[in-house]
Point group: C2
Chain length 429, copies 2
């Protein structure tokens, strides 16, 4: 292993450029750390003529990214094109089939095709690594698969999408509406023109599916994840939450136990004094709980050229040192994991109702709750000016999701309900 590890990089956008900068700038350090050079020998991108501010002399250029898979001067393909299918998926598969290791930052690809690609990598005796796919530069895949390898993990959760966390933080600090802050985030480049992947929770779900599989050793199961985004969160909810001692965060949560695996992504009210409540702006945080280690927390920047390049480099250093063991391991023989649905989840709820102020309102709401055994914990009522509907906020004790949803469906049909009830789950971490 004394020769250089030869790397082919597909995709020279912000992240790809960052990887080249890192390998160039910290080259001597990396060579020292892993005992051999890590050298970019080939690249591929859409536009050869674009000035990226990176020296590409002596590096082979492929117009077609797929050619990296057959380039004899490439040992490892770094895939930074993105997208669950299309050229990215073709490239990764072709590279593995050609006996090359693959490093990718593509969460959609891993969440959708990870198990199949991991099996292919294992057959080929090469590595498939994706530290950059989850939580930016935080070495969380390594922490889970190696650092906590002695533990049986029971729960993993985190703030996994910087765009949503930025929007919620801004909404809280400025009192502005979701649409306003989203538009600003788009202008600042923190949110995509089509923000759905981020704000509807899909990106968080991709990452959660990967984390859960790595943490629990369960089959990667993106399809079963309960996903709810942050579009429905209003400044009023953030304000009421604060009054009740909570902050609102979009959190991905996976729990694994005797009953099975429950994976869910939704906005949460979290107690303001918890570590995860203090993670602001574009930062990510992951909490992993194991039977021996207890609770461990990992925080850092969740995106951007630097953090992502850092994660790609960590994977390359591992591969350069010959550490090619599978991260997404096939499930243990005889183990079967049932994916659970949200229905049976026991939790607490924040509910905001907008009601026309008339006699008997509380009695009817209370009856709907009682009939489903939902027990109220706190109540806040705030007048909205005469003639306007009244904001009526409550939190509940623990109750099964299905019961809560049935009670809410009944409440939503009551004649004095002026708007669709707003429901946010309360998580006690």
């Amino acid at each position: 292993m004394s020769g250089p590890l030869r790397v082919g990089v597909a995709g020279l956008g912000t992240v790809g450029g960052g990887v080249l900068q890192l390998l160039n700038g910290n080259g001597a350090l990396i060579t020292h750390r892993c005992g051999r050079e890590i050298k970019v020998t080939a690249v591929s991108a859409r536009n050869r003529d674009r000035d990226r501010g990176i020296a590409l002399e002596g590096i082979a250029w492929h117009d077609n990214a797929l050619d990296l898979a057959s380039d004899p001067n490439v040992d490892v393909v770094v895939e930074l094109i993105g997208g669950a299918d299309g050229i990215a998926a073709e490239l990764v598969e072709a590279a593995l089939k050609a006996g090359k290791s693959v490093v990718t930052g593509n969460k959609a690809l891993i969440a959708r095709h990870g198990p199949r690609l991991a099996a292919l990598a294992e057959t080929q005796g090469v590595a498939l690594r994706f530290e950059a796919a989850v939580a930016g530069g935080i070495p969380i895949v390594k922490a889970l698969s190696e650092g906590l390898a002695g533990n049986s993990l029971s729960r993993i959760y985190g703030i996994l999408n910087g765009t949503c966390n930025y929007i919620l933080t801004e909404m809280e600090y400025t009192g502005r509406a979701f649409e306003d802050v989203l538009a600003e985030a788009q202008q600042l480049g923190y949110a995509e023109a089509d923000p759905s992947f981020d704000v509807d929770g899909i990106d968080t779900a991709h990452k959660l599916a990967i984390l859960a599989s790595v943490a629990f050793g369960t089959p990667l199961d993106f399809e079963s994840i309960f996903v709810e985004g942050i579009r429905h969160i209003t400044p009023l909810d953030i304000e009421f939450a604060a009054e009740l001692g909570y902050r609102i965060k979009l959190i991905g949560i996976a729990t694994h136990g005797e009953k099975g695996l429950l994976q869910r992504v939704h906005p949460c009210l979290v107690a303001a004094d918890k570590a995860i409540a203090a993670v602001n702006g574009v930062f990510n945080a992951v909490v992993a709980e194991g039977d021996f280690v207890g609770q461990t927390v990992y925080q850092g920047r969740g995106a951007g050229a630097g953090p992502t390049a850092s994660a790609v480099a960590a994977d390359l250093v591992d591969i350069a040192q010959g550490h090619t063991h599978a991260v997404l391991s096939p499930p243990m023989a005889g183990s079967k994991t049932k994916s659970l649905t949200m229905d049976g989840n026991e939790g607490r709820y924040y509910v905001r109702l907008s009601v026309d102020d008339q006699p008997g309102v509380i009695a009817e709401i209370a009856a709907a709750l009682r009939d489903e055994s939902v027990s109220m914990e706190e109540l806040l009522q705030r007048p909205n000016g005469s003639g306007q509907p009244v904001s009526f906020v409550m939190t509940t004790h623990e109750v099964a999701e299905a019961k809560m949803m049935r009670a809410l469906a009944r409440i939503a049909r009551l004649p004095f309900i002026a708007e669709k009830p707003e429901v946010i789950r309360i998580e006690t971490f």
Copy 2:
């Protein structure tokens, strides 16, 4: 590598017992994760007859721990005896010389003899691992040496001693004095009968020396660390700090740059809204800053059987998978690192003076500060009842430590100073 990895455990106290419990309880999981069994084949402890609640059938017993080094049925020795010298050091050296890998949780040993032992391990082609030596179950050595391997790290700091953090947290919450809380911590088993290692900052310094060497690739240098403990912190300082927006934490800080390496351990005032200020009780936290990744934060339990066993298991899984690369690497060719002293450090200071209330007091203090170019930032004065000395608290702008200390020495000699001035450094993270 399909046969089991055979482990000999030296020391069956709380931690050693935890390791056996973990390898036993999570054996199937570990075998699945690393593709081979990790099996305890031999143990050594002082008292064979003590009931530890662990099944030792089928495991060889050695009255003399050194015999583990020559046991042909042992591939890896786990050293959990403790102490920088004596039997622990002899065992580790003998095991490495016998061609066995070593896993240890012994920070004093690594801080004192790490480089020599690491060089021996490298010569022998075996691993020397010590994840359990720093920050309990937090996989911080792995994060630094592998997860952030692509970065040039510039600063690492953390709360590394759970005993001190517990004492400071209790002092803050209850307003009780250091001695009181220490005595209670000793009763609860959170502090040793001889607490000096913990409360005088030595344990934190051991861990900081290890972290700095791993993070920066600089030679491990315990001797140069500036070390100050927490014995002089009073409830009054904690109260004033809170009034100024700070909390007091014992922090180990290492910075590495063009000028050299500065390592220091001392109580710090940290802004109350920073993540590290919120780390309470027996928890540890480490912050690592790299040129690409930015700031990353790691938190978890810093001690105890479970977290320590988790760290030992992670090292064993690595070794079982053949990952035997050096963690304490020899410095890069041509690199020389100058260890800096505290004198040149630029920082801000909290100073509490107890002064007899008389005219001209502030003028004389201000003159002493002015003559060393120390610029005051905030001032608090609080009467202590008539005839009693007055508490006079100030914070300063940035100034070199040497100047501040000269100014303070002059102030301490002023006739109206009733007690030794209390100085705590303010860290802006």
